[in-house]
Symmetry: C2
Subunit: 418 residues, 2 copies
């Protein structure tokens, strides 16, 4: 099959639709989200049947339990998708807002209007819920979207694609506004990331390998999220109770998320806290790997951390622990090993906290809070399309605003430049 | 010579310096700008002598008058550079500002802190003033910069590089904070745009050919400014006096700038204005090329505009003129032929004005104002590094803010996620 031609057609459709969506009334975009929610509710049986096909094929193809779990739809997950659509629907329209209008010496008034980005390509793994989440966010922000999910979810995604198309038709938006790629061949991904003229940005969601490959090969700009090697630093001036609570929460609330702590740094003066911390971690089934000083302070840590441990995103119940001399040493360790996702300091000292905030160069930097808060919902964005570890365009959790651009708007009354 | 190795060294130096500059006090960065201004003033003779070498070599190499003019330094231009440095110095520090802190339901307080981008590579043509302008903006925004100017300006740029290095030393900032490339070989450009690890963004400034080539080949993200095919649309409800003033100013105030109008669109009902408009344009030496209806309305337009005219950035005293049916027709023409830089409508009708503002997808969209206002100074940015016709990261005139990124900052008091 000619995937280049197929993808070029998707691109042309999307570009054309994007012009309509960009100037559509928010009421129409919201109506599309409501129609999707209704259709999801009405077609549960159909969706679950399609998903069962994927699950069966996945099981016989030998997908592991975690992958099958991510692939699965059930009534509770459909409820969550419906609730998510309602949440996105209730968010204010980001498009058309004019900010910061000021009158210049020349007399013109200048401000910035928020506008859609255009066409967004989302490449993701076999998680059908992403299909609905990505569609709703892109559409709400006035964009057209091309969604390419993992091949294992193809039956689920086709069924969800029908839900989306039906909703678009119902409210009179072009079908090109959200297109779900119907082919599973990998060549489609290669073709998508070469569509420089018709796709404005590619957002890959998934494992580090997928994202790195796409970032390397894409001719379209990529908003990427690589790994999350997150740190908590317990400072000399930390409150012991807060330190314990934050460290345990940051590591154990969920093991497989990108904002989970992977390395704990402790000021030397706090090493007396280690035995209790180790006990608490071990009670949650966490394996510890420590530097020499950490192992001296807590003999329960029997495994020595290697150079590799400091730069590993475990996504598992493993924690590396390092005793550092103090703030400077902690900042240096983070600069060297962090993936720039999220770091937190526990301290009661204001100046130390503010230095950490300023000097640590990560997408989220926290004072006395668990790294697990690094999340679009927790930040009040209403929803998130992903977390960017890039510094250009959008950084950290990306909500509706990250899916938009701006333009300057100038109000004159016959003004000319002299 | 091993340009790859040379450029890799520049990149390493810059990356290392960027960490220092990012956390430097604004007073130190401002002091560096002042020291540059003093040094420019003190070394006028030296700078003019170096520039004379470039001008002489340029003249014998057959550079045209316009290129030689852009290459030339003189006392007035040095005064302008000194004044520019003073202006950038007086701008508020963009780095470290925390915006939009809100308390979430969980109790954490979340905001965004503005932070430097990191290392910025500027690739530009033989205009020595860009060396100082780019250095000052990148440094003020807390970044390290690598500046690669056109080879014809090499003696001027080396002398300016000495001015910059001297100022950096004087205030104790690392020399890697601003590095002026001392080699003229084009291989340096090729090596720079492959420095994905040490350069965060490439900003090319110059002709469309240069920028297109760099955008195509760069592995580093590029903030680009292609051509400026700017339109003024005189609506049915335009005030004739404002329309005349704006059209003449947009075309004739300067011919060679990117925000100069290249195509004038008139509503059919306004075609009676054409004879007077044509006279005014011709009085400024502007050649007119018109569609059929335009030539009927003003027989002084003798040249027929071709398809090519609608998509040409003349940068010269030439104007294409088209009579359109009305707003929709104008928006359609602009969507098809504009380069997305700047468009303006002249109208007294509020609804029409607001539709134009919303529906025209360009980096600046204006009501009753000359396109010539699309400029960082006119927009109150204090200065500009360029004008972006991209939609990602920064769009339109790019000042200090476009040279920064943000990070999320979270203030807790022992908060954990439940």
């Amino acid at each position: 099959m000619d995937y280049e031609g197929y993808v070029a057609d998707l691109g042309r459709e999307a570009r054309c639709a994007a012009k309509h969506v960009a100037v559509s009334a928010v009421a129409q975009r919201n109506a599309a989200l409501s129609a999707m929610a209704v259709a999801l509710d009405e077609r549960r049986e159909l969706l679950l049947a399609a998903n069962a096909q994927d699950l069966e094929a996945g099981a016989s193809a030998g997908l592991d339990a975690a992958m099958l779990d991510r692939l699965a739809l059930n009534n509770a997950r459909i409820d969550a998708l419906i609730e998510g659509l309602e949440q996105v629907r209730s968010l204010p329209d980001p498009v058309g807002a004019i900010d910061g209008v000021r009158t210049m010496d020349s007399g013109i008034r200048v401000g910035k209007m928020r506008v859609p980005l255009g066409v967004i390509g989302i490449i993701y793994e076999s998680r059908p819920n992403v299909t609905i989440e990505a569609a709703s966010l892109c559409l709400k922000a006035g964009n057209a979207a091309i969604l390419r999910g993992g091949s294992e979810a193809i039956h689920s995604n086709r069924a969800l694609g029908d839900v989306i198309s039906g909703a678009l038709s119902e409210v009179g938006l072009p079908l090109g506004a959200v297109q779900v790629v119907a082919h599973t061949d990998r060549a489609v991904v290669g073709a998508l990331i070469r569509q420089r003229d018709s796709i404005d940005i590619i957002i890959p969601r998934g494992g580090k390998g997928l994202i790195e490959r796409i970032a390397q090969e894409s001719l379209v700009p990529v908003l990427k999220h690589l790994d999350g090697i997150c740190h908590v630093y317990i400072d000399d001036a930390a409150d012991a109770g807060k330190a314990m609570a934050i460290a345990v929460n940051a590591k154990t609330q969920r093991f497989g998320t990108c904002n989970t702590m992977e390395t704990l740094l402790l000021a030397q003066s706090q090493s007396a806290l280690l035995p209790e911390l180790v006990q608490a971690m071990q009670a949650h089934g966490v394996e510890l790997r420590g530097c020499e000083r950490a192992r001296q302070a807590a003999t329960e840590i029997t495994v020595a951390a290697t150079e590799l441990d400091w730069s590993t995103e475990y996504l598992a119940p493993i924690l590396s622990v390092r005793v550092v001399d103090g703030l400077d040493d902690a900042i240096e360790h983070i600069a060297r090993y962090s993936s720039g996702h999220t770091e937190s300091i526990v301290t009661e000292n204001h100046s130390t906290a503010m230095r950490f905030l300023r000097e640590v160069d990560s997408s989220s930097v926290m004072i006395n809070a668990s790294t697990r808060f690094a999340d679009g919902f927790e930040y009040g964005l209403g929803a998130e399309i992903g977390i960017s570890t890039d510094k250009l365009h959008a950084r950290g959790p990306v909500g509706l605003e990250g899916l938009t651009s701006t333009k300057f708007v100038v109000f004159g009354d016959g003004h000319i430049r002299t």
